[in-house]
Symmetry: C2
Subunit: 395 residues, 2 copies
């Protein structure tokens, strides 16, 4: 059976060049970068080279990059670390309603610590209105966090405009760029933010590594206390092989980005246009234009996303019905609900996230196997039966 | 030139079997364990197998193991997470003066959050007196943390006895077993603790992965908020290759432990007995008997540990002068100072930590190259000149 992986938002595979770059550091170059001998030197040089590579990807200075263990850790570090560092100035934090749970629940933790939280709503495409951010700022607002793009619906947010507002008001601005760094151009100076998160396994680098970019001069309280690694801002022995892999992945992403975007956009647009022609009552979710090149997200009426996912899996196709981090919770996506989708429709969410390995044949295959799955599931749906009886639809 | 790595406390190399076990997960088995399709299933099964392997190493239940990104993260998680979960009962925390900085500075962070901290002293061998712990307990004490063994001086602490005291008083007890798990027998039920940290790169597993064992029923507040991974207690995409490597390393450590201990103890005892015969005014630090099998630590009078380290490095020998996590700080070790060593002597610290690859020839080589290095450095030492002039020593 054909195997088609369309869940690249959950994680991408390693590029062979990335794996090759990592292997020596899983072998004889096993030193601890903090050590003052030759083994340590080799490891330290590799980490510093990777730091340069990551910095170049986002147009930053190497010393502004802090390596972490994941995008989730980077977001926890930013939200908690910036808020704690600023708390003498005020205790109000503003985040968008469609943030990844690592931002949203970090902000919830701040509430337990005595901070106040405002969630900024989004429109039906999942877009944060910068004026809405402005309206929610207060004298005691110390931090705003809006993601660069939403991995579930692909919508890219107007970060530059929001950054202008936070800057005018002297408020720190974090953006979660886990879905965009390494995928579309991300330049910290153009975005105008103060801190930015990214993760290796989102652009063909390894799991177990992320980075937080912290603009020079911005104070942040460490999340992990201990040794003096990462300039005293993130304790713990550096995960050298993964950091090397992240650096290599950053270098490759920077060089290949235009070709990658072209490839992914072509496949995405096929799904976005052809799937609704093959299946009735399908809604494209997210912004029609300003969306990630590899993201094709839909809601299919009258059926559960998880059922489609399971049936597609039995046909060799990997997709998801929302974020990987929440798939085990089997709840309707907070992103779709924030966009105003009815609960029942949000349950029918299905998300295709394309990768470099995908081909037109993969798309042909999905367009062939999905419609009969939807038909079969709808035959079993009481809601669909009611709907067709009422004469409002049906083939 | 002979290459002799004697800095295994900083990090061990990967065993070839561990690397082999990891490679498929850096290749086609790249899935995200949270995903509900076949790619996710394969990753999830691998993570759960590793969880069993780690649980077996320490005599625990698989569901009590939480994978983290490092020993440092495990310690931060335990100290902060247990204290925050217990704060309604009291805000007093007791830790030993010789803890790793990931415990010590996490406890310092608790102080900033309004907790009170008591440091329990150690004797000249670095041993915590259980009665000293008992004397420092208060009505509002909620947490005690004493490490299983100290990586810098090798001393193994009387954890069982301390655990009896904390249990009698209904107080939670964390032990940092990063230096012992996978090296000497560590059984959580025998130790009687409530939580226990370990790290992969301490026993021939990978960097970038650790674990926190949390006894069933013990409440802990997550350090990393976000997705529902690790039973909702540690968010972030699982570092599958590293977790698989940790599991394999745990399995190998469990099987080979007696042979490993015998090998390391033999080499260690050669250093502990022969080095002081070859170099005058050398002090063995740590406990004479209750010490880690691979730890030979000394203080050499009249010279700086870092100078010895650099000269040994030029001879192909990797050692350290204290903990890797603090080597860049170039301060006298807080462990040696807590043991009552004079500051000047503590500056002359040199630490050999042996590994499975080391041989008798390695020890011969060190015993050959170190004495002339010490001689040369002492010739340059004003303190040594003063000492010899006073007629109190000299060859």
């Amino acid at each position: 059976m054909r195997q088609v992986y369309l869940d690249n938002a959950a994680t991408t595979p390693l590029l062979p060049e990335v794996r090759e770059a990592m292997l020596p550091y899983l072998g004889e170059l096993f030193g601890n970068p903090s050590c003052l001998h030759s083994w340590g030197d080799a490891a330290r040089e590799a980490v510093e080279r990777a730091r340069e590579q990551v910095a170049q990807l986002i147009g930053a200075e190497a010393e502004e990059i802090i390596f972490t263990g994941s995008g989730t850790e980077s977001n926890n570090f930013a939200i908690k670390g910036l808020a704690l560092a600023q708390q003498a100035k005020g205790k109000h934090v503003v985040v968008s309603a469609v943030e990844h749970f690592s931002v949203l629940y970090s902000a919830r933790t701040l509430e337990k610590w005595g901070f106040e939280l405002t969630l900024v709503p989004v429109d039906k495409y999942g877009v944060v209105d910068p004026d809405e951010v402005r309206r929610n700022l207060r004298k005691d607002t110390i931090l705003v966090s809006v993601m660069h793009a939403n991995a579930e619906v692909g919508t890219i947010e107007p970060i530059e405009e929001i950054a202008r507002i936070t800057r005018e008001n002297g408020i720190l601005f974090h953006t979660d760029a886990v879905a965009t760094a390494g995928t579309i151009p991300v330049k910290v100076k153009e975005l105008g933010v103060d801190t930015l998160s990214l993760a290796g396994n989102q652009f063909y680098g390894p799991k177990g590594v992320g980075a937080l970019w912290v603009r020079k001069g911005v104070r942040i309280i460490p999340l992990l206390d201990g040794g003096v690694q990462e300039g005293g801002r993130r304790a713990g022995t550096e995960n050298v092989p993964a950091i090397v892999g992240l650096g290599k992945a950053a270098e490759l992403a920077r060089m290949d980005m235009p070709a990658r975007i072209k490839h992914l956009t072509h496949l995405r647009d096929r799904l976005l246009t052809e799937l609704p022609r093959k299946i009735e009552r399908v809604v494209v979710t997210g912004h029609p234009q300003n969306r990630l090149p590899g993201n094709a997200s839909f809601c299919v009426e009258f059926i559960e996303g998880e059922s489609m996912l399971m049936w597609l899996n039995s046909q060799g196709v990997a997709v998801t019905s929302g974020s990987a981090c929440t798939s085990r919770a089997l709840k309707a996506s907070h992103v779709l609900l924030a966009m105003g989708l009815p609960h029942a429709l949000a349950q029918g969410s299905i998300l295709f996230t394309l990768g470099l390995d995908n081909t037109d044949e993969d798309i042909d295959y999905v367009l062939e196997v999905l419609p009969p799955i939807v038909d079969r599931l709808r035959q079993m749906s009481p809601l669909y039966a009611k709907f067709t009886k009422a004469g409002k639809g049906g083939k």
